[in-house]
Symmetry: C2
Subunit: 592 residues, 2 copies
Amino acid sequence: MDRLHKLSKLRSLMDEYKIDYLVIPSNGPDISDQVREHWKIIAWLTGFTGSYAFVVVSQSFAGLWTDSRYYIQAGKQLAGSGFELMLPGNLKSSDHTDWLAENTKQGDAIGFDGRLVSVTDFRKIKNKLKNRSVRYVTDSDLFTKIWTDRPGLSESVVRDHLIKYSGKDRSQKLAEVREKMKKISVDNHLLTSSEDIMWLLNIRGNDLEFSPIMLSYFLLGEGSAVLFADIGKISEELLEEFSLLKIGIKNYSTVTEVLSSVKEGSSILLSPDTTSTALYDSIPANVTIVEDVSIPGRMKAVKNNTEVKNIEHVMIRDGIALTKFFCWLENNVGKTRMTEFSLALKIQELREEQPDYIGPSFKTISAFNENAALPHYETDPVLSSTIAGSGIFMIDSGAHYNGGTTDITRTIIIGNPSPKQKRDFTLVLKGLIALASVKFPAGTKGYQLDMLARKFLWEAGLNYGHGTGHGVGFCLNVHEGPQSISPAANRTSIEAGMLISNEPAVYRVGEYGIRTENLMICYEDEETEFGRFLKFDTVSLCYIDRNLLERDLLSRQEADWLNKYHEELYAKIAPYLEAGEKNWLRLKTNPV
Amino acid sequence: MDRLHKLSKLRSLMDEYKIDYLVIPSNGPDISDQVREHWKIIAWLTGFTGSYAFVVVSQSFAGLWTDSRYYIQAGKQLAGSGFELMLPGNLKSSDHTDWLAENTKQGDAIGFDGRLVSVTDFRKIKNKLKNRSVRYVTDSDLFTKIWTDRPGLSESVVRDHLIKYSGKDRSQKLAEVREKMKKISVDNHLLTSSEDIMWLLNIRGNDLEFSPIMLSYFLLGEGSAVLFADIGKISEELLEEFSLLKIGIKNYSTVTEVLSSVKEGSSILLSPDTTSTALYDSIPANVTIVEDVSIPGRMKAVKNNTEVKNIEHVMIRDGIALTKFFCWLENNVGKTRMTEFSLALKIQELREEQPDYIGPSFKTISAFNENAALPHYETDPVLSSTIAGSGIFMIDSGAHYNGGTTDITRTIIIGNPSPKQKRDFTLVLKGLIALASVKFPAGTKGYQLDMLARKFLWEAGLNYGHGTGHGVGFCLNVHEGPQSISPAANRTSIEAGMLISNEPAVYRVGEYGIRTENLMICYEDEETEFGRFLKFDTVSLCYIDRNLLERDLLSRQEADWLNKYHEELYAKIAPYLEAGEKNWLRLKTNPV
């Protein structure tokens, strides 16, 4: 069935179900940005494969909204689909909710699948249309009817996430979450982010391509606990453990039914950003809903000492693989045929050799020259560029290990760099160093620190369009909240124990892109009469390409930072290398 | 009547009116931080004279909440009042709304004067108490009954704010505001901030001690316009002008009545932060209320070219007065008796000599040594310290001129500074220079820039507890929104034409305080492939005390900034000085 045919079938169904406008989000019922094939409705319908989009369909309109990182890709992929790429032409109509506000009439019916639209997103629509009396049809799952060869849902196995990795057992975590619930006087806590549940129960699954997660819900009360998941995925041993902790197991799909019988007059804490409209609406009206980031969501962002030690250990493992990769690349480029895609495979193979490796933490971005100018370039097996001649090569990759998750970007030069490339690279590095070196008072938000990574770029009239840092899970999602370092007003303070990325960049469309990314852990620094102060420690271990460095642009302190970083990196990684690799790394990490 | 007696009378009245908890804010019905004597209820009742407080009274409790700048002052002033100073002992109970949430019971009646509590503040209370069924009594004006010698409201005269100052005539402003209303589809716009109305109508009044404002409301429709004010304050000439523009005048107190007859089904734009509950509640239920910063509130923040030119001119006038002041101070200290208060008077006298001077833009903070450690020190006529011996002297002052408003802080050393004082002063200066020199992309928010002014202090374990920059009105309020530069997540971007302060500081309790403050205007810098970039230009003109400078802590670029600032300052101010002053300024502005 071609895409125009799919669209036409969909419109017939909409007509039948009396839906004037159908809204389709890009996520599955877990409302995260990693989507299983079963839920890739937008890709099936429109051909667009990016991770973020909203689609609106009416009898006379079919449009897709995404964000700037996907404009070029979406433009190509939507060709011939019948779908229009909706670019933000003016401030007034910047997203699909604005479009709906401008185009719907009194009495129109707006339909969507309530399992897929978060409370927050539904509210945005309702808020924009509040002056209009439209009808909402929230049980509009039309695709089951027309998507006949739809992929099924995976069958995975859940494993124990051992205490030597987690540092805290599940009974203690349950007790701590219950204690926090008591403090804020909530009777029930609904967990809708599966990663929160993995953390809470010290388990890991493999329902998703890039996260060791079992999709699930969890309902925690003072004396009750129910895990909503497919019981078949859980081993006898774990079931016994759960039973001892009085955790009941119910089928994933029964969650709305259980929610509808939450005790009258009680209260329930949930996050409207990750709770679907379907779940939210099943809660009885006389239950008080308290909306906030989930308690495990906040707790898991702060890594405990065991986790921190594991992360530091994993960074050495990851650093060994990265060193071997770049050493191999430099020794073989121009001799062995290599493409962006083959290099993405190569780095994965080298990581697979490391103990405790689980899998990639996201799809590797391996990009040469102008491809590196696309922050979220998709490295295609067939179309990917050959690495030949000279140019900028950027690789953004990471892995899950039992002892933590990595995410690192390095940009290197193949052949000789231009002065402009060196300047851009050095300005990015200066930003990375400024953020890595900052000392800041407790209570500081990520948005206060973001500009440190940009200031030198701004001075040169440069900038980058994404945030500077995201939280990173512990053998969970590589992107994890609630903290971030970005221009957006995220109200979560950076706390000691948080793991966060530091990834300034510059993208010159049609030419090249440069990004350097390390992970950092936040630590306590000192306490003065002005309060507690915190600092970062960079934990990622991979050399930074001195061939791209314009030494004169570095201050003495910046050069000291780089030399110290390289010295420590060499001391940690060299013992695990072969002689040739060791010599190579010595040269790469010599002082500047 | 002493304060305990007042409290007891109030409690009797509360009993009579069946109010369990009475909430009293520190503002008048204009909901701004400048309050006329008539509305200084908290000062009358408790003795506390700070500009920000909330009071809660019940039969068994009387407490006052204020912010950290007033803790010491409030502690002293509340002694013997029967009122407890409510310090934030724990995070859970940080303000009066939290206290109410913890202490009220089902069925309790919470009373306040609806004219004095903004919609936003009322919502905070309701939100905190949402799980409780309490009653709200919003017409509780009990003080008219017990405050028998209450001061009346001022009679002031409104004057024309000439086009040579404003740069845009009132008809054009009205047309532009109406155009913006049309764009966002609102039928009516209620203006509740008198400064917005002064700006819109190009008038100035004198109802307030420190702002040339006539208290008023304004209701603007597509074809209608009503000014709510005392008609007696407005000249015949202005009345005629208004009549030509079809602006009706109604009595200030009729605003609720007029609001209650806003056309059914229409929409009205207002700001919940500055609109009182009484006004809000008078709007009919079927009128759609659109809540946002007022349109004139946003427009007046961006100064036009005429205003910018006037501001630059006024800065020279102000700089002359400041130079004469510091020259006189240095020549007379130790010879003539001087106190903090006499110096505050002296600086005002010197400004009065300047053309177009209107009055002080706020109460001068003139503080010596440990008094300077209180960011909002009140310079008392009787108790103020004598300037003698050696020490740090800080003076924060400003004035309104027809051509703009000034606000400047300088810290100087009398005698010899300690190394610690020099280091602190220089770290503050480095922050000021970093912010003054930054280049940033259009769309940047103040919270992204704030840390520039703090970074060097943070590195030394220092910080300051207030924001770095506030907007400044044009011959209006010295504190003006919507922009700010502070750690708080203010969503207004810094735009070209905005006037904003730059005032990093360090306060060492019991020792001394250091603050250096300049005003800056934002300008366009350049446009690159990465977008438009903006920069600041410092417009305040007064020397920075080199005797407090630790030159070794300044980078070459920072020293260059300071030298350039001093050079331009000398060139602009010197022509207006007498020979002795000129020589003195030459020495003060020599390169470092």
